[in-house]
């Protein structure tokens, strides 16, 4: 059972699956602030003056879409900015390393599972450790979880040793 969203600003907003890392959140925040600045400037600008709306990225589009927000509304923008600020400050981060670079599809499947089982706002920090062979190495705030093949082999060392001794004798 997933814990409830611990945001004090807005309990009804959520992150899209494409926003998986803290870098994505930072990028989303910068983009959102640019749009907010632009719209605020546009409000005080003389009517009829030409201005071009900044292009939004896929991350922001998905975030706005799944939360059913309209960035032209100041309240929605403020809600989203507050939410993103809260996420960047408070969202739990899980450092997870693999033996190879994960594909976006893999990352998306993983974040889907983590946000449904662990925490709805969890963010990932992906790492690369080629020496683990297979599996993953997970590190949370205070704990370290080794799910690698090397760890499995160490745990099953007795079996492997007995097999090798049997083969040598």
């Amino acid at each position: 059972m997933a814990p409830k969203q611990e945001t004090a600003t807005d309990a009804y907003l959520s992150l899209p699956l494409s926003v998986a890392t803290k870098v994505d959140v930072g990028r989303l925040m910068r983009e959102l602030q640019q749009i907010d600045n632009f719209l605020n400037e546009a409000a005080i600008r003389n009517p009829g003056a030409g201005a071009q709306m900044p292009k939004t990225s896929r991350l922001l589009d998905e975030t706005v879409a799944i939360n059913k927000l309209n960035l032209l509304h100041e309240d929605d923008r403020n809600r989203l900015i507050g939410f993103i600020t809260h996420v960047r400050a408070k969202a739990p981060i899980m450092h997870i390393s693999f033996s190879a670079d994960p594909s976006p599809a893999f990352t998306q499947k993983l974040i889907t599972r983590l946000r449904s089982d662990v925490h709805p706002l969890v963010l990932l920090q992906l790492g690369l450790q080629p020496n683990i062979g297979a599996g993953s190495v997970l590190r949370t705030t205070n704990k370290y979880f080794d799910f690698s093949l090397r760890r499995r082999l160490e745990q099953k060392g007795d079996i492997l040793a007995s097999i090798l001794k049997g083969a040598m004798s």
């Binding site: 089982d117 997970l138 949370t140 704990k143 979880f145 799910f147």
Partner: protein, 207 residues
Amino acid sequence: MNSVQLGLILISLLSATVSFIWLAVRLSGLQGGKGKTVVDGVVDAAEKDVEHIFNEEFREELRNRGRLHFEKIIGENAMFLQQDLQLTTSQLNEYMKSEITKKLQEEFTKYEQSITDAKQMALESISKTQEAIEQQRELMGQQIVKEIETEKARLVKRFEENMADIVNHYVLAAIGDQIDLNDQLEFILSDIEANKEAIIQDLRNGA
């Protein structure tokens, strides 16, 4: 003429001389005071006769005879002395030979004994050395076996300690490029699911 004959001649001459002297003395005794001249005359006559008999030729003859006899005696004695000397020399040679042989035999016996003792000592020393070498070899063999066992145990222990890394390295080298991360997703998710509570607890309690 041998010595016996010469002796007889000398004895006869001496006896004639003595008898003549005795006769002259008797005659002088019969004549009294006047007889002294007679005696003197007899003595003179006797001396003359003696001088006549023992003249230089006769004396030379006697010297020659004596010289020859002396040479004969010297020759005979020299021969005896030579024979005796030869005999003594022969005996001395035999004695020296026997003594030297005896001494040499004794020395050879001592030498053989010394050689035998030295040989025995050398054999004992070699035997002890071989025994020590054998003991050393056995001890060294035991030490080597012990070292090998220790090294083997150390290698096995080290291998067991690093076995996971070794096998992991082998797996990576053998099939590392064939391990797809997407294929591992279910296993990764199952591991996370198995430790979900601990992860959630740590995320909640984390700073």
